[in-house]
Structures are given as structure tokens and as C-alpha cells.
């Protein structure tokens, strides 16, 4: 009886809120089950998502029972549910306010009034200047005050002219709907009760370990929630879609492994005397992938989806060419730039710059200004160089106009060159970090033993950099296997040549150009499997070598 009197208010409040959670959860699940069509994803996904919606109901029911039993787990469960409830209500409230669909408007308004940002720049400059003055002088603090004032004014001007009043009025306008009030109230109540439950550690006899645990989970929660909603969810969905004939806009049919078999189907036939062309040797539905001639016998390799195999071949080729071009120059640059010569930081920044530049912008520059066969700088330089050689040495080298983006022999190299140029800076920074971690004693000992620079590099730097090199190669390969931007931007605007169709470009084209979402999901999972296996092999090889 005494205990009942001391029952903290947060516990009955939490029980009521958990019961509300059960009701909301069940209603949500029922409404999902009741939908005629679930975003064209099919019954399976509908039942799955409906089932997921019931999980909070089950958890809330358990929390109620445990809370009544004064079990600490009831507190944790309630805490998690209320916390998630508050997050869900907040997100939904932002949706009602139109924040998610209003990003464009916000960005546009800020862009149009970006001149106000100069006020912040001026304020910062003044503040910096004030800091350089003698702090004891009143002038310094006055300038600081002026700087703060200018900064505040600039911010207010930006917000005012950016339409903060209209935006606020718009948000307030949403409170003309009961729904907005309910969601706001739910968000506040969930938050207050979660806080109330949080303060009951002593009541439930919370240990230090338990406190550390919920604090840890709390810290992790943004990432876990984001991962679940935006990564794990779509990932699972794409796995399911890969077994369907989904076109995205109508209910898919489950077709088992048909997508996988369509992509993987190959046919090996011998070109007979009656087969005028290689294509004639193949069954209907197959197209020529490759012909192999051994002696008089020509074997025709056909595929149901030639682009799957072509894209795989191109992707591996891209990786094979990218690895040396993206690592060896990066390593050499790192060695050179690790020396303590004045101005080296500028060089490091210059080499790193391409890594932080947008690939689309870079690709456009490469496409028009550098790679154009007739007006590009690369061919211009080659022409001038050829002319110089011929004029100077009396040679007669022909001026070869290389079709960097049009000659099938150079297309892949053009992509690799641009990608390597962009990634070298990043890899260089990794190598620099690795080099700076090598103990200086090793070099000093080697010098004492008479080792020259080359030997030091070969017997100290390279072996010591093994973990960095491994990391650089693994990340380069993984990025290489997922190459998309380079072919997409360099060759966009017309038909993508077969020679540049990489695996990710292929699955994008099958998904969005051919509207075959199920099939492209299958392609994505096969690519995932390939990257997984390649990385696994690398780890195994590295472990063996390290051992």
C-alpha cells in the first residue's frame, strides 16, 4: 500500500501511453492490411510491412506487463518505445509542415538572398581582426561587438528576406487541421513521458552498467534508425524484388530465380557450315557474346542478356586498369610530398583537389575541353608535340587524332584515366598518413647500415605501408566495381557504347530506361555478391601474407 502511494506519475503515464501505442500500432497494421494495393509492391511486402507495424504493439504489451511487475526491462522497453514514438511523431510532423517537400523552396530562397552571407563574411573578418588587437584595449571589444551585430543583422536579413515569416505563417496554417494538433501533442507527450521514465533509474534499482547501456543505445539510435529505414529496408525490398517481375508501377509476380537465370544464361555452340553468321548458330533468344576460333572450329558463345556479361567484363577491365593508375602514382606522390620542403602543403592540397570536386563537373570538362578529338586540349598538345618533333628532328610522325570518346579502343582508357586522376589525391593522403606513421628509427638504422634512398623505400617504406596499401587497393577495387559516374557523364547524351557499359550503369539502364526494377534488382545483388567475394579473397590473401 505504501509502495502504491509512492508510485511515480511517469509509470501510469507510460502504461497509458503504451496502451495508446498498442491501439495506434494495431490500427496502422490493419490499415496496411486493408489497402487494395500497397505501392505496387505486392501482397508479400504488404503483409511483411503490416507485420512490422504490429511489432510496437507486441513490445508495448510486454512493456505494460513488465512495468506492472516493476521489472527494469519494462522501463527500458517503454523508454525505447516512447523515444521512437517521439521520433516518429517528429518526422510525421515535419512531413505535415511540408519541410521535406519544401527543401527546394528553402534552398531557392537562401540562394536568392545569398548576398546577405557577405554580412557574415564581413563579421567574421572584423572578429578576426579584433582578435589580433590588444585584448585589453576597448577598441578590440567594440569591434567585436560591431562584428557580432553585423553577423546578427546579416542572419536576420537572410531569414527575413528568405521568407521566414511566410514559412512560419505556412506552418501555422497547418494547424488548421486536427491531425497537426494530434501529432504535435503525441510528440510532446511521448517526449515528456520518455523523460519521466528516464529519471526513474533509482526507482527501478538501475545499475551503472544498465545506465551505460541505455546511454549507448541512445547515442546509437540515430544511426540505427537511419540504417533501418533508409538502408536495411530498401536492401531487403530489393532482394525480394529480385525474385519478381517488378516494373515498379504495378503489382509484381513472384518468378523465383528467373531474373538470375536470364542474366546468367549462356550458350556454347559450334558454328556449322550452314551457319553463315555466328548469330545463326544460336538458339532464338540468344545473342552473340563472343566467338572463339580454334583451328577450323569456331565456337560461338551466346547469352540471353549480352549486356550483363559485357558490363561485367568492362567493370573488371576498369578495375584492373584503375588499380595501378590509382595507387602507384599516389604512392610516389606521397613519398615526394612527405618530404619537409617549404610549400609542400600547397602541393598536397592541389593534388587532393580533384578528389573533392564533383565528378559530374569534372567529367564535363574532360569530355569537352580535354577529350574532344578535334577541339580538345589533349589532342592539341599531341599535335603540337608531333609538330615539334618533326620540325626539330626532321622526323615524319603522323598527327594521329585520337578519338578518346569515340574510338572503341580508347573509351575504357579515357574513363580510367579520368577516374585515376580523381582518386589519386585521396589515395595519396592515405599513403601520406601511412608514411608518417613509420617510426623514424628504422630509417636512421638503415642509414647507419648504409642503405640508400631506394633501398630504404624498398625495404622499409613499402613493407611498413602494407596495411595502408591493402586498404587503398580494397577501397579502389570496391569503388571501381561500382563505377557509374564516369561512363554516365562522359558518354551521356546519346547511346551508351557497349564498351563503356559498366555493371552499375547497366543495372541503372535496365531499371530506369527499360523499367525492369525486378531484373535490375537481381543484377544489383549479383554485383553485390561479386564485390563481396572479391573483397573476401583480398582479405584472405592479405591475412596469409601478414601471417
Amino acid at each position: 500500500m505504501k509502495e502504491r502511494k509512492n508510485l511515480p506519475l511517469a509509470i501510469p503515464a507510460s502504461i497509458v501511453l503504451n496502451i495508446a501505442t498498442i491501439v495506434i500500432s494495431v490500427l496502422l497494421a490493419l490499415s496496411i492490411f486493408d489497402l487494395d494495393e500497397f505501392y505496387a509492391l505486392g501482397d508479400t511486402v504488404q503483409y511483411f510491412v503490416g507485420g512490422i507495424a504490429l511489432v510496437p504493439a507486441v513490445a508495448a504489451a510486454a512493456a505494460v506487463i513488465l512495468l506492472i511487475m516493476k521489472n527494469p526491462n519494462g522501463r527500458f522497453l517503454s523508454l525505447a518505445l516512447h523515444f521512437l514514438g517521439m521520433i516518429a511523431a517528429s518526422i510525421y510532423l515535419l512531413h505535415i509542415w511540408g519541410v521535406f517537400t519544401g527543401f527546394d523552396a528553402i534552398a531557392g530562397a537562401l540562394y536568392e538572398n545569398s548576398a546577405w552571407l557577405w554580412g557574415l563574411v564581413i563579421a567574421y573578418a572584423l572578429y578576426w581582426f579584433a582578435g589580433r588587437l590588444d585584448n585589453s584595449k576597448p577598441l578590440s571589444s567594440r569591434i567585436e561587438m560591431i562584428a557580432v551585430g553585423i553577423g546578427m543583422l546579416a542572419l536576420i536579413g537572410l531569414l527575413f528576406f528568405g521568407g521566414i515569416l511566410e514559412a512560419t505563417a505556412d506552418i501555422l496554417g497547418k494547424y488548421g487541421q486536427l491531425e497537426t494538433w494530434v501529432v504535435t501533442a503525441l510528440m510532446v507527450i511521448f517526449g515528456i513521458v520518455a523523460y519521466g521514465i528516464l529519471t526513474l533509474g533509482e526507482y527501478f534499482g538501475e545499475t551503472t552498467d544498465q545506465r551505460t547501456a541505455w546511454q549507448g543505445w541512445l547515442m546509437l539510435s540515430p544511426n540505427i534508425i537511419g540504417f533501418t529505414i533508409f538502408f536495411a529496408g530498401p536492401l531487403l525490398l530489393s532482394l525480394y524484388l529480385s525474385f519478381t517481375d517488378s516494373v515498379g508501377v504495378k503489382e509484381p509476380n513472384f518468378i523465383g530465380l528467373d531474373n538470375y537465370s536470364q542474366a546468367l544464361s549462356l550458350q556454347f555452340k559450334t558454328q556449322g557450315e550452314n551457319d553463315q553468321y555466328a548469330q545463326d548458330a544460336l538458339d532464338a533468344g540468344y545473342r552473340v557474346l563472343e566467338t572463339v576460333k580454334v583451328g577450323d572450329k569456331t565456337t560461338v558463345i551466346g547469352a540471353k542478356d549480352v549486356y550483363f556479361w559485357i558490363s561485367l567484363r568492362n567493370t573488371f577491365m576498369f578495375c584492373l586498369m584503375l588499380i595501378p593508375l590509382a595507387t602507384i602514382p599516389a604512392l610516389l606522390l606521397a613519398v615526394v610530398l612527405s618530404s619537409k620542403i617549404p610549400g609542400m602543403k600547397i602541393y598536397r592540397a592541389a593534388f587532393f583537389l580533384p578528389s573533392v570536386a564533383a565528378v559530374v563537373g569534372i567529367a564535363l570538362i574532360w569530355r569537352i575541353a580535354l577529350y574532344s578529338s578535334s577541339i580538345g586540349f589533349i589532342n592539341y598538345a599531341l599535335t603540337e608535340f608531333t609538330r615539334f618533333l618533326n620540325d626539330t628532328f626532321g622526323t615524319s610522325f603522323a598527327d594521329t587524332e585520337i578519338g578518346w570518346l569515340s574510338d572503341t579502343r580508347y573509351m575504357m582508357f579515357s574513363m580510367v584515366l579520368m577516374a585515376a586522376w580523381q582518386v589519386v589525391g585521396f589515395n595519396m593522403v592515405l599513403f601520406l598518413a601511412g608514411i608518417q606513421g613509420i617510426p623514424n628509427d628504422l630509417y636512421e638504422a638503415a642509414q647507419v647500415d648504409g642503405a640508400n634512398q631506394l633501398n630504404q623505400f624498398r625495404f622499409i617504406t613499402l613493407p611498413q605501408l602494407r596495411p595502408t596499401t591493402f586498404f587503398v587497393i580494397v577501397t579502389t577495387i570496391i569503388n571501381g566495381l561500382q563505377v557509374f559516374n564516369e561512363p554516365f557523364v562522359l558518354f551521356r547524351g546519346a547511346a551508351f557504347p557497349d564498351e563503356v557499359r559498366t555493371a552499375v550503369l547497366n543495372l541503372y539502364l535496365r531499371g530506369f530506361q527499360d523499367i525492369l526494377f525486378g531484373y535490375s534488382s537481381a543484377l544489383a545483388w549479383m554485383l553485390f555478391a561479386i564485390i563481396f567475394v572479391v573483397t573476401l579473397i583480398q582479405f584472405r590473401l592479405n591475412r596469409d601474407k601478414t601471417a
Binding site: G248, Y277, S373, A494, D498, F512, I515
Partner: protein, 421 residues
């Protein structure tokens, strides 16, 4: 006291909008089209405002859907998947069949039948043949064409003068065209006689002008297995292999704009860019007449109605308003698009564009007259067919495949894509 007063004021401010919200009972229609530039966005926005002002009870939201290079279709398809696509939207002609077969767009025939004064005869018949294709035997109308376009040869007058050539005249032939290309290329340096992009439109012209076609007569199968295909592709490939053209696959537009290409094949959509950037004398001419006679494409795209719109009647009315002669005239006045209505004031508006440059705008209108309409391929999957054709033609130009082998084998490769539907 002050705090209580403040709370009351805030509550009153929050409750006020209830009345404002309840007062709104207008229908809101969202519509979208793919503009080529900011000027077009402005004109479409103005047109939207004008239509809205004269239309009681309807609010219009115009959404410029990005440009050709900003994934217009990707966004649209994603929104259709998520159920958030606009009520009325524009799609390229080649997408109409796919969207219709997926049930994404409304059959507007019944709504059109009730519309007084509306006639499909007002639009180019080649386009309407595809837009009235029936999937189930019933009368059908899938949408109305926003505009039309055709190819022409943009030629550099300075290079023609330098080579001592007459400018292309009406009725000029492939022989004249090639001869001009040779003379201009012979000027030396980085100068090329000809340039075109590597998609189905340009190479399709050479196939069509030689007397062949991508499709059979009723568009239910491949039509490329004939000698005319060989003639067309051989002629085209020779332009590249003899060094007369900007390499196949390379964007010829910047090269032409740099003054290094004598003849550049492109659609009317390229004209504003050439007007803005060319620093040399130039004009346009009809495409040369091939052995199969004059040929061109009739490119088109259509305004269609989202199958999930809550306001089909109003959406259809919007489609009609957007394709009215007045609106088409305004869009055509920018010079990038040709009205999809045959004749009428819209065409006059188009012909009057860039009058100070004395452009041969008539070349485009003439091209539309005999142009083969861009085909959605109702009996197949155009996307897959197009991809296979792209690969094959690229192989012919690269010399990996003879034009004869292409003609002999391509149908076996693309026929399965006709059977998939």
C-alpha cells in the same frame, strides 16, 4: 498577466488558419513538362498562370521537370512508383506505349468525345496514328502532342564559302552531300565535313532515306533485313571511315559551334544554342534526299493524364488548353519547338522566329511533312530494340561488323523483343 496574454495571442494565431483552410475548396492540378532552358520554363509558367486566371475553380501548379540531362524520366518514374506523380505530364513519343501498357496513363477517348470543337484531325496524322493505338479494340486516345520537331542540316556558310561550294539547295542528294563533305574536309586542319550524334535518330535517317525501316509495315516486327539497310549504313559508315565526319560517338555540337564542322545534323531543339553561340555565318537546310527519296523523322512527345488523377475531366481540359493554338504559338515563338497542329497561326509564329537571321525555318516544317513519326512500338519493347540497334550500328561504323551482316542478323536479335509483349 503578460504571459497569459501572450499565450492567448498565440492560440488565437494558431486557430485563425482553420477558417482560412476551410475556405479552400479549389481543385489543384499539377502538371509537368521537360523544358530545354530557363526561357522555356518562363513561357510555360506564364502559360500556366494565364490558363489558371481564366479557369474558375482550378489552381495550376506547373513543375519544370528538369532538363534532358537532369533525369526527367527517372524522377517521373520514381514518382509514378510512389504515387506522387503530377496529374498531367509530358513524355517522349517513344515512351507512350510503355506507359499505356503499364496502365500509367488514362485513355482520354471518352472525355475527348464529349469535348465540343475538339478534333484529332488538327494534329499531324503520323503522330495521332500512334496516340490512338488501341490495346483492346476500343476507341482510344492516349494524349495530345505538345509539339513536333524534325532534323535539318545546320551548315557553316563560312566553310562552304571557303571551299567554294554552293549552299545546300532544296532537293539536294546524298551525292551532293558527300561531295560537300569531302570539299570541306579537304580544307584541312581540324575541319570536318559532317557531324551527328550516335543515337537512333541520325542513323535511322540514313536507313530510312535509303528506303528501309526499323519496322515492318504494321510495326509488329523488324524491317531491317533488306539491301536498302546495307546501302544506308554503308553510305553512313563511309563518312566516318573516310574521315569526313566528327568521330562517331563524339558530341559534334561543340565542334560545330567552334566552327570546325561544315554540316551538322540535329533537330530544331538545337537552334537556340546555335543562335546564341555560333560566331560564323550559318543556316539550315532540309536533309539530303537519299536513294529511297526524301526522309526525316517527326519527333514528338505528348501530354498525357496520370491514371491515378483525382480529376480526370479537369486534367483532360488542361491537356487541351496546353495544346491550344495560342499556347503552342507562344512556345513556338521561342524558336525551339514546332507546333504539333498542322498549319494555323502557331506555325506562322514558328516561321517568324529568328527573322533577323533569315533562317530557313521552312526546312523543318517541310521535314515534318514527310517525316516518319517517332514510334512507341506498341507491339514490342522499344527500349531493348533501340539498345540492340545502337550496338549493331556502332559495330558497323567501327568496322567490327559489315552492313550486310548487320542487315542479315539484326532481326534475329531484335525479334524476341517484339514477342515479349
Amino acid at each position: 498577466m503578460f504571459k497569459r496574454l501572450l499565450v492567448l495571442v498565440i492560440l488565437a494565431a494558431l486557430l485563425l488558419p482553420i477558417f482560412a483552410v476551410n475556405a479552400q475548396d479549389e481543385i489543384t492540378l499539377r502538371w509537368r513538362t521537360r523544358p530545354d532552358n530557363q526561357a522555356e520554363i518562363d513561357v510555360y509558367q506564364a502559360a500556366s498562370d494565364e490558363i489558371e486566371a481564366a479557369w474558375d475553380g482550378v489552381t495550376l501548379q506547373y513543375e519544370p521537370g528538369g532538363s534532358e540531362t537532369a533525369s526527367y524520366q527517372d524522377v517521373l518514374i520514381t514518382e509514378l512508383t510512389g504515387g506522387t506523380a503530377p496529374d498531367v505530364f509530358w513524355i517522349p513519343g517513344t515512351d507512350v506505349a510503355r506507359f499505356a501498357k503499364l496502365g500509367l496513363i488514362l485513355n482520354l477517348n471518352d472525355l475527348a468525345a464529349q469535348s465540343e470543337g475538339f478534333s484529332i484531325e488538327d494534329f499531324y496524322p503520323q503522330i495521332m496514328e500512334h496516340l490512338t493505338y488501341s490495346l483492346d479494340g476500343s476507341d482510344t486516345l492516349w494524349g495530345l502532342p505538345r509539339d513536333a520537331s524534325a532534323f535539318a542540316i545546320y551548315y557553316n556558310e563560312d566553310l562552304f564559302d571557303e571551299a567554294g561550294l554552293d549552299y545546300p539547295a532544296e532537293g539536294w542528294t546524298w551525292e551532293d552531300f558527300r561531295a560537300a563533305g569531302e570539299e570541306i574536309t579537304a580544307l584541312g586542319g581540324d575541319i570536318k565535313g559532317f557531324g551527328m550524334s550516335n543515337w537512333w535518330g541520325p542513323y535511322g535517317y540514313f536507313i530510312n532515306a535509303a528506303g528501309s525501316s526499323f519496322f515492318n509495315e504494321d510495326y509488329t516486327g523488324c524491317g531491317l533485313a533488306n539491301e536498302n539497310t546495307v546501302t544506308g549504313l554503308d553510305f553512313m559508315a563511309s563518312l566516318y571511315n573516310d574521315g569526313l565526319a566528327v568521330p562517331y560517338g563524339e558530341d559534334p555540337e561543340p565542334v560545330f559551334l567552334a566552327g570546325n564542322v561544315g554540316m551538322f545534323m540535329n533537330g530544331r531543339w538545337a537552334t537556340p544554342g546555335v543562335v546564341a553561340n555560333a560566331t560564323f555565318g550559318w543556316n539550315v537546310a532540309e536533309l539530303p534526299v537519299g536513294p529511297g527519296g526524301p526522309s526525316n523523322w517527326l519527333f514528338w512527345g505528348a501530354y498525357v493524364v496520370n491514371a491515378n488523377t483525382e480529376h480526370p475531366q479537369e486534367a483532360w481540359e488542361l491537356v487541351m488548353k496546353l495544346t491550344s493554338p495560342e499556347i503552342q504559338g507562344k512556345i513556338a515563338g521561342l524558336g525551339a519547338n514546332i507546333p504539333s497542329r498542322v498549319g494555323g497561326s502557331g506555325v506562322d509564329d514558328f516561321l517568324a522566329t529568328f527573322a533577323d537571321l533569315e533562317l530557313n525555318n521552312q526546312a523543318f516544317v517541310n521535314g515534318l511533312g514527310y517525316g516518319v513519326a517517332e514510334n512507341p512500338v506498341w507491339a514490342g519493347d522499344w527500349s531493348s530494340i533501340g539498345t540492340a540497334l545502337d550496338s549493331g550500328v556502332a559495330a558497323v561504323v567501327a568496322g567490327d561488323l559489315s552492313a550486310q551482316e548487320f542487315a542479315d542478323t539484326i532481326c534475329a536479335q531484335v525479334d524476341p523483343f517484339f514477342a515479349t509483349e
